[in-house]
Structure formats: structure tokens, C-alpha cells
């Protein structure tokens, strides 16, 4: 008899536990990107160019090594500079004179040529957000037109902040972004400082392929 009672009790426990009430489903709202539209409960891309631009800026966050060629044009005068990044190393070059930087153990080291050999010094200037330059940009700041991407006027100040460190009250105009694949390939714009209009042409290359060897000191 005790075995039978035990069996009923066991069955009853199993039945009770199996019959607990299921939770009520929660209705989560779907948020689409600006270039998508919700169709039948699913985000569908409706602006391919905007999506591309968004992807480009997402990829920008992964820029660890690339080369940036800069042309500063003042009427007939052209000045070429090249900046390279390779993770914790970078370089700046103009007219064959190349300097190197390496961030190591919290110290930014500067390598510069002096005579026949390189010298090293530690840089101690604090990092300013203004030095981020184009890293401030995102896709929302641009308007695409005929395959070209123009920085909205109200966002020019993000670029101006960089140049204002040397050219107070300068203005940026006609900022155009060019794209190849899903990467930024260039930036062209006018920088107006006082009476002078500088045409700035910046070209990205060797993205993911730039390698820097710090000179031996």
C-alpha cells in the first residue's frame, strides 16, 4: 500500500510540475538602420549608397594600418606629404624627410633623422580630440549624390576643428568623400584661411597592407 501511495505521489508531482503555466511572449520593436525599411517585420535595405557609406565608416573603426597621401595646393604651389599608420607605429614624410612615431608602454616616441643617424625623443603632449580629424565623421553627416558623398554643411565644423588648431577661423567647403569597395579612398575639400583657399586632396591606399619599420637608434 505504501508503495502505491508513493507511486501516486510521484506521478502527481510530475504532473503538477509539467503543467506550470507558459510565459507570455514579449513584443520587441524592430529598429532598422537609416538606410533600411521595416517590411513584414523584417528590415530591408532601401538605400544601398547609404548602406555602403555606413559600412565604410564601420570599416573606418578597423583602420589600423594604411597610407594617407596629402596634397596641399595653394594656386600653383603643390606640397605633398605622406602619413603612414601601422598599428602602434606611424610616420610622416615630406620631400624625402621621414619621421617616425611609436606608441610603446604608454609613451609616444618620436624618431627623427639628425645628420647620418636617427635620434629618439619622448613626446608628452596630451591627446586632444581635435587631432582625430576625420575619425569624427559618420555616415549620417553625408549626402550622397550621383555616387559622390558630400559632407553636410552643418558638419563642416568637425573637420574645421582639426585645422583651427593652426588656422583660427578657417572654414571648410566642398568636402567630398570618395569610396572604393567598402573603404574610404579619398577626401577632397577646400580649406579657406584668411584670403587663401587651399585645395586639399587626401588619398588613402595600402589599407591593411602598410608596414612601418622603426629605425634603429
Amino acid at each position: 500500500m505504501r508503495k502505491i501511495l508513493l507511486a501516486f505521489a510521484l506521478i502527481g508531482a510530475v504532473v503538477f510540475s509539467a503543467c506550470q503555466k507558459e510565459p507570455t511572449p514579449i513584443d520587441i520593436p524592430i529598429t532598422c538602420n537609416s538606410y533600411e525599411e521595416l517590411q513584414n517585420g523584417v528590415c530591408v535595405v532601401v538605400d544601398a549608397e547609404a548602406k555602403l557609406l555606413s559600412d565604410v565608416f564601420s570599416n573606418l573603426d578597423t583602420f589600423n594600418d594604411y597610407t594617407l597621401d596629402i596634397i596641399v595646393q595653394n594656386q600653383m604651389e603643390l606640397y605633398n606629404m605622406t602619413i603612414e599608420f601601422d598599428n602602434n607605429k606611424s610616420s610622416f614624410e615630406i620631400d624625402g624627410n621621414k619621421e617616425y612615431y611609436m606608441y610603446n608602454n604608454g609613451i609616444n616616441e618620436h624618431y627623427f633623422k639628425q645628420g647620418d643617424s636617427f635620434q629618439k625623443e619622448s613626446l608628452s603632449e596630451p591627446l586632444s580630440d581635435n587631432f582625430l580629424f576625420f575619425y569624427h565623421l559618420d555616415a549620417e553627416m553625408f549626402t550622397s549624390l550621383d555616387g559622390k558623398y558630400y559632407l553636410n554643411i552643418q558638419n563642416n565644423s568637425d573637420i574645421e576643428a582639426f585645422f583651427e588648431m593652426e588656422f583660427p577661423e578657417c572654414t571648410v567647403q566642398n568636402f567630398e568623400l570618395t569610396i572604393e569597395g567598402e573603404q574610404i579612398s579619398g577626401m577632397i575639400f577646400d580649406l579657406i584661411a584668411g584670403e587663401i583657399n587651399y585645395r586639399m586632396v587626401m588619398t588613402f591606399s595600402l589599407i591593411g597592407e602598410t608596414s612601418i619599420t622603426i629605425p634603429v637608434v
Binding site: S90, N108, E166
Partner: protein, 520 residues
Amino acid sequence: MKKYIFLVLLILTFTFVQLIDIQAAFRLTETTKETIYIEGVRHTKIVGSIDMDGLITDQVINYLGANPSSRSDLNIVVADNYSPYEWHMSGLPIIIDTIHQRYDYLEVIGGVNGDFYDINDTGQPLSLHVRDFEVIQRGYGGTRNAVGFKDNGEVVFGIPEFDGYELLVYNDEGQLKKRVPINHINEDPLNESELSVYFDDYLNTIPAQYNKVIIEGIETKINLNKSGYFGKGSLVATTTEQVNIEEHQFIIVGNEFNNDNLITEHDYVVVQLGLGGEWNDVRFAIGADAQPLVISGEANLALNAGASWNFPAPRTAVGVKSDGTVFFVVVDGRNPPLGMDGVKLRELGEIMAYFGAETAYNLDGGGSSTMALKDLEAGGYAILNTPSDGRVRSVSNGVFFVKGELRPVPDPIPVWPDTRNQLSMPTNIYVDEQNVLHFDEIQGSVSYSVIIDGKETIVTDNQLSLALSVGSHEISIRTKGGALYKSSDYTEHITYNVYPSDIYKFISLFQDFASKNTNP
């Protein structure tokens, strides 16, 4: 008794005549007198009159003087605007421009016209013309005076002394490699040891039996009467063949003079009538008139020759005081309505003595008389006097006060062939952020030659502050060894760029961008 009276009268007559002859009454009355100083040079303008033995004339006198022996950066140069192969006449302002082109480290303060010259044809000066130790013109005849200026401020007057023709061979540093006496001009050597030089006025073929060094002339000057030759140039060929001289060339002819490779394509040579005696180390010299205006501080009242000596005319003169002050005087003339009567040479002598001359000589005058001075207000140079032609006349040469150090004379090579050890080239060359050029010191050097865009600067220290214009500059350096060591070769050039100030701002921005955006 009659004899005694006659004798007394005769003695009195001689005494009286002599008194008149040596003691003229001279007075200079200054109606106005203005004096200014520019860069240590004094200019005084006197408007007034002179009274010479009772003859009163109106005069305008300009004085320009300084003491070059008191300051190393105040010097005197004699200058011209001759063409490389011809004499030439130019106005004083153009000659001043030429000084600035020839010696860009000197600035003319002021000066006057110089020697008498062949005004109707070539512009050749009549007497000695020495430019930076180079005897361009020895002068017609042997009786014309000159004024020579030495580096120590000493001034030499009188008839120049010469040591005969000489061949001077200089290396590319301007060090004298060797001086060789020249035995003949435009004539064959008479024996194995003689040396001849042929200029391009020699019309015959030079025979084959001699060694010949053919020199392309950088500058050649030949006297109109063939009494003087000057040549400066560099080697174009050596030969033993017979040759004809081409235009602007001169040929050194001898036997063993070039056996030890004395003259190379890196050298330059000078053929000139070398100065001797107290004229030996004269750096600049200009020709003057036949007789001195002032002797031992007294006007030369025995003067009885020279350019229209007894007629009033515009005049230019050069004098030196006992303390070493050199001064030029220009007296205007041929313009009585403006109070410019001009002076005779004896009167000019009195004026020079009035200004304190110990010795003075007359230079070319008349319409040539010109005095120029740096114009601080308008820039350029002002003509201080009133040239009697109504305009500045083109003249052969002039003499000027200049501001700036004259280039030191490089030490000559002690012996030839040169057996000195060669110094190393400078290393570790760079320009710092303060635009100072640095390089490592080389033991044994006496100085360094820094060539920037082809222009040489000599520094004794192993650094040089640069003040270069915007653009790209090429810099190379050699170590100079002086007399003890052979100088090094020049280094490979380094390129140093100077950017406009706005581009430096871009550079700074992008350097910071590069340095601050690495991934830690």
C-alpha cells in the same frame, strides 16, 4: 757801388720770386656747411668761396671721408664695369651695381670717379688699375702715378713698381699653388727654362716643340699700345702640337713648367705684370695725375703739369691724412651761375690741405667729376655734386668706401708638388629646427667651406645659422686645411627645404595627426 746795388736788387728779386712761388695766400670761406655720417663715412658739403692769391671764386665742395685703418668692416675698393675682354665706360651708379655683383658681401657707401681714360674710344684707364690683387692695367708709360690701398688700411701713393710678368696658379680654393716668372709675352722662349705667354693678339702659329697649356680666358685685357697684358682663365687643353690662338684664349708655353701637373682643370691661372716694392701687397689701386696735389701736408705749389692744371674746372681728388683717414673731394665747376667756378690744380691742392691731407693726388675731373653716396631716404645712391655735363658721365673706373669685410687671402700651398695630407670630409650634416646647419668637427681644419646653391660661405665653427629664402636648397661642405693640410673634397649635397610659414602649419598639424593616432 753800382755793382753792390745790382747785387742787392738781384738777391731781393730772387727772394721775392721764391716767396711768391711757395707761399700762396689761400682762404676758404664757408657760407654753408653741412655734415652727415653714413655707416662711419663722413660727408661734408661746403658752399662758399676760395681766395687764392687775391682771386676769389665761388665754389661748391663735397667731401667724403673715413678711416679704414680703424675698422676692418670699412674698406676701400677700386671698381669698374669692364667687359670680360674689353674695357668699358659706365656711370658711377652702374659701377656701384657691379661692385655689388662682384662682391655680394660688400655694400657701397659712397665714392667718386677715378682715373683718366680713353674717353673717345675704349674707356681704357691711363694708369694702374688693380682689382682685388689683379693687375688689370699696368698703365701707359712709367711716369703716371697711382694710389694703392692695402688690407691693413695703408695707402700707397706714387709711381707703381713692378716685378715683371708672372704666372700665378691657384687651386679651386684660391690658394696660390705656385708663382712662375714669365720671360716673354708673345715671343718664343729662348731656352729650356724660359716661359712665354701668348695672347690672342699674336697672329702667328706657335711652333710644335714646346709644351703648351691653352687657357680659356675668363677675363683678358690688352693695352692699346701693347704695353700691358692681363689674363685670367682656366685650362682647356694641353698639347705639344703647333697651335693657333683662338679669340679670348691665352697660351702658356715652355718646357717643364707643367710636368708635375701644376695646372689642372680645377685651377685658374692669372698672368699679370706683378707689383713690387711697397706696392707688393696692394689689393686695390687706381691711377692718378702726374704730380701730387699735397706733399707732407702742404699744397704742392710747384705743381706745373697735369690735366689743364692752370685752368679752373670741376675736380676730383683723393687724399690721406696722417691718422690714416682717406677722403675724396669733388669740386664742382663750369657752372658760375650756380656758384660753381671750379678750381685750378694748385687751388685743389690747397683745398685738400685745408681738409687735412698729408698726401693727395688729382683724379680725372671735368665732366667726369662725380660723387655718389648711399641715399638713406630714397634708397639707391644719390649723386652729391652737379656734374658739369648736366648728367652723370660714363667713366672708366672709380674708388669707393664699402661696408663689409674683405675676403681673407687663402694661405698659399707651401711647396709644389703638394705633399700635404688630405683632411676628411665633414660628416653628420643636418639643419636643426632653429635653421642652424650642423656638422661634425674635423681635426686639423682651419675653416669649412659651405656651398649653398653654388654660393660659398666660409665658417670657422662647425655650424652656420641659415637665413634662406623659401624653396629647395642644396648644401655641401668641405674641410679646409689651410697651409698644413690639403682640404677635403666636397660632401655629397644635402637638400634643405624652406617652406612658406603656412605650409609649416600644415606640416605641424599632420605631424601631430600622425603621432597622436597610433593604436596603443
